[in-house]
Amino acid sequence: MARSIWLRIAVLTATLALAFGITGKPARAALDVYVGARNEVRNAPVSDCDGRASRALVSVLGRSAEIGDTHEWTAMGAVDTAGSSFAAAAVHCFPLDGSGYVVTFTCAAQAPPAPETASVICSQLADHFGGQH
């Protein structure tokens, strides 16, 4: 009987030690911000930039929104159960005199848990925007 109790205590202790060992040293999250590409596009209206920016953000981060009517687009990545997001990006479109626009990509990530770095997010955005990366 006594041996059985000690065996249970040993099993319990070993299991707790294993579980705390698995979860007790989480990697520390770090902020990662990246200044992405800047491109100048000629002979295209800024509405072309708006459409591409929105589609690129949806493709990479799953959503997009314009801030007012500014041609500035942003998106946060998927949220976890606590409502927190760990990736974000901004695509700025600015119309140039005459015909054309300039577009910039700026990205942020918190890794872990974000699976991609800010640099990778910006690279994917530029690729989706139109192969101008």
């Binding site: 319990l12 299991t15 979860t23 989480p26 911000v33 997001s85 974000a88």
Partner: protein, 224 residues
């Protein structure tokens, strides 16, 4: 239920409790601010760059141009408690035929950072523009300096067994210890009474010079 079944159930429950306890800490979240943009009808890109660098350094540190002449500037906060920056801001200048356009984008890590991305971007933009209210940003909490030497209020450091010099213990700031064979445990200190949880619980006494631990079957000397 058989004995083995009860033991397996007990182990499973213990594992679940431990994982839940360890997972209850709220993870940090990313806070992002975008949308502030100024268009200036006068001035050059180099003027924009100078103001970008100055306004970033007013609230962050080490403002640098992502590539020389690009007009894209980035700066980071000092390191937070985790040893990495918890706030960053990006100011991007683009020259126009007359003047320039400048955008402001900020990101912070919450709750480690004491202010939001919006608060940071507003301050940087207002500083750049030379107008608008500047709100004081709280200082970023810094990591506690690791005790050095033979601190009498801490066991942090490397300890050597007096009986077996090959056996050493590395005691960390967080109350963790690891021996020279990789076996881990914990330490705590109350007054001059130390408790080591390492193959059981041992009570030891810290000497007045904070260099020696005796008791509980151990005799250790700290390297300091």
């Amino acid at each position: 239920m058989s004995r083995r079944g009860r033991q397996a159930a007990l182990a499973g429950a213990a594992m679940l409790v431990a994982i839940v306890l360890c997972s209850s800490q709220a993870p940090a979240a990313l806070d992002f601010s975008v949308g502030i943009r100024y268009v200036s009808d006068t001035g050059s890109t180099s003027e924009c760059s100078a103001k970008a660098q100055q306004s970033l350094n007013a609230f962050l540190q080490g403002a640098s141009e992502s590539s020389p002449g690009s007009g894209d500037w980035i700066a980071h906060s000092q390191n937070g408690v985790n040893g990495t920056p918890t706030a960053s801001a990006v100011v991007r200048c683009f020259g126009l035929s007359h003047g320039y356009v400048v955008t402001f984008t900020c990101a912070v890590q919450l709750p480690d950072n004491p202010y939001t991305a919006n608060a940071l971007c507003l301050d940087v933009a207002h500083k750049f523009h030379g107008a608008g209210a500047i709100t004081a940003l709280a200082a970023i909490p810094t990591p506690s300096p690791e005790p050095t030497g033979c601190a009498p209020n801490s066991l942090v450091g490397t300890w050597v067994s007096d009986d077996n010099p090959k056996l050493t213990f590395s005691m960390g700031l967080g109350g963790d210890l690891t021996d020279s064979e990789g076996v881990s445990g914990n330490w705590s200190l109350k007054g001059n009474t130390a408790t080591l949880i390492y193959y059981g619980t041992h009570t030891l006494t810290l000497s007045a010079d904070a260099r020696h631990l005796h008791g509980g079957g151990y005799s250790l000397t700290r390297r300091c």
